[in-house]
Amino acid sequence: MSNPVSNNQLEQLSQNFEQFETSLNGSKGSIHDTRKEAISSFLRSGFPTSKNEEYKYTDLSKLVGKKVDFSQRRKGSKLDHEKVSDRIVEGLDAYELTFVNGHFQVELSNLPELDGVRVSGFREALINNEQTLDDHFSKYASFEKDELVALNTGFSEDGSFIHIKKGQRLDKPIVLNYINDVHENQTQNYPRNLVVAEESSELTIIEIYHDLGEDTSFTNEVTEIVIAENAKLDHYKLQLNNDKAFYTGTTQVSQATSSTFTSYTFTTGGAVIRNNLNVDQEGEGCETNMYGLYLVDGSAHVDNHTTVDHKKPNSYSNELYKGILRDKARGVFNGKIYVRSEAQKTNAFQSNKNILLSDTSVVNTKPQLEIWADDVKCSHGCTTGQIDEEALFYMQARGLSKESARALLLYAFATEVLENVRVEKIKVFLEKTISKHLYR
């Protein structure tokens, strides 16, 4: 490896993997073979650097190298009900899986006990030899193609397993509540989620990331989502971390014919955030919606990479990502749309809009369309600018203070994304969170 700092870290990670293997106490199956392959793939390549086109603006080798200490790996945590009982999202009626430092805490969770759905921690599903897990694990997110997926696959130990049966519609959303307990030292987490939605089922999943304490955390997540024919799945990610949180995550989605997938990614905190969202439309008539909103300040770095691959005819995708950045914050957006030759009559739309509130904030945005079919409708656009001074003056001339005019304008900018949120309590929560940010 060319980077000596990275070398030490890779050695440390290699040791961590050995410890992980020891802790498994011989209970190894075919999944462990995958882990071993994945970790050696990761150790060969290391963290991606800016030489990798996909990580041009987000040199994880450098960013992680500086701040994350892989020799500290805090596993347990003494969190009790009292500490986590304050629901992040007020009044949200949901099933909940709580994770502390990446580990599922059954006593802090509230699982559905219904016939049509199987929900458990990932570890438990492994121990129970869930056939569905065997069938789908690592079949979508390829560790050969992405170093971050390789790292997660190597350390995939815990997370969640969600399987909703044919025709079932869950009465409440499932919240995956990821708490980093960083009171005393750093933590590293590798949550691994598998979500399988059978034919004509409906499900909403809400991932929430936040911290207790001030220290550094490193989270490397992979979520594989399999959506069968006619099924509908909404997937939310609320990233509410402190300014020392490093997060890298891949959401890998496979959609069958006439299925609908909607993704919402909201980021209000973190030191470095890298979201990979990849959607493969494997069937005809698929619908994919991707919404994103990042409101960041300080020296936060938020990178959203999305891919939607239209492989069959009559499909649809719509993407809207918006950002408000201040101080020295940096935003990166890269949206790829592939329309394969077979995917005629596809409609694909993409838009990324940013407002920079300071001279020192930066946005790098890149739409990429690759179209092999000839009968398609595709559009993309991106804008980055300052707050509209003319609008500001107009509002002031009607008696609004400059601060409230500004906040109202920014709020209106964010609303275009928010209005698509279908879980009312999440919407209210986000509105409040955004207001707090905007009035600062």
Partner: protein
């Protein structure tokens, strides 16, 4: 009410106002006319507090207070209203929400109680009638996709809501057909009273058939070169601005 004395203003070092003197008393309607580029809109903007302009000399007092020293929002709260020549489109903010926030900040400044949702709606419905504006329009994003007439009616609606002491109408007639013009003028006339004053900035005499001025001033090269009554407006309509320019050149 408004006393402007020797006002000079520039934008990016380009001098636009070169010594304006004007006094407007309560109950009066003043028209400010002049050829394109004479500084009419600049005067309106400077009075409302647009930051792009720099005042280099002179003063403007509003109800005895130094107007030029006040932030734009405080001018609005104190009772100055500028109806924009080009009302700004603001996606995502409805007129209703905008007005509610604005009105309550204005009321707070004036030492009045803020309005709850019901009293706001009652007041709004009453004012809507003045300019024949529909509530569905006001629920939409502010001015977004509005026709020229709808935008100007929305301006007068907002003026009615904020009850200013001094209304400055900047080229309110531009882009209006005759029916829309009548509705807008009618709204303005209903809002006139002994306690408030109006400044109508316009290129054409047409609007002054409906909003009848007590005084007409002609602006040229950043100065008021001629003042008179409404007859002056008719003269300008008939003869154009060239004779004014010639007079100014020989003066």
């Amino acid at each position: 009410m408004l006393k402007i004395n020797n006002l000079h203003a520039a934008i990016e070092d380009k001098k636009i106002l070169n010594g304006i003197n004007l006094e407007v008393k309560a109950g009066e309607v003043h028209a400010i006319m002049g050829p394109n580029g004479s500084g009419k809109s600049t005067l309106a903007s400077v009075l409302a507090g647009r930051e792009d302009y720099e005042v280099s000399e002179g003063e403007a007092a509003f109800l005895g207070e130094d107007l030029l020293d006040m932030a734009p929002e405080d001018r609005a709260r104190a009772g100055v209203f500028l109806a924009f020549q080009y009302p700004v489109e603001i996606p995502g903010v409805s007129t209703i929400n905008f007005m509610k926030t604005a009105l309550n900040q204005v009321r707070e400044y004036r030492g009045q109680e803020t309005l709850d949702a019901v009293s706001f709606l009652t007041l709004m419905k009453e004012k809507m009638k003045l300019v024949d504006i529909d509530q569905s329009l006001l629920s939409r994003s502010l001015n977004e996709g509005f026709s020229g007439g709808e935008k100007k009616r929305n301006e007068i609606f907002q003026m009615a809501m904020l009850e200013p002491k001094l209304a400055i109408l900047d080229e309110t007639d531009s882009g209006l057909d005759i029916d829309a013009l009548k509705i807008v003028a009618n709204g303005v006339n209903k809002l006139k009273g002994k306690e408030n004053a109006t400044i109508v900035v316009t290129h054409y005499q047409r609007l002054l058939d409906y909003i009848v001025p007590d005084y007409v001033h002609v602006l040229y090269n950043g100065r008021i070169v001629k003042s008179g009554t409404k007859e002056l407006a008719h003269e300008l309509e008939a003869k154009g601005y060239d004779w004014i320019k010639e007079e100014a050149a020989t003066a």
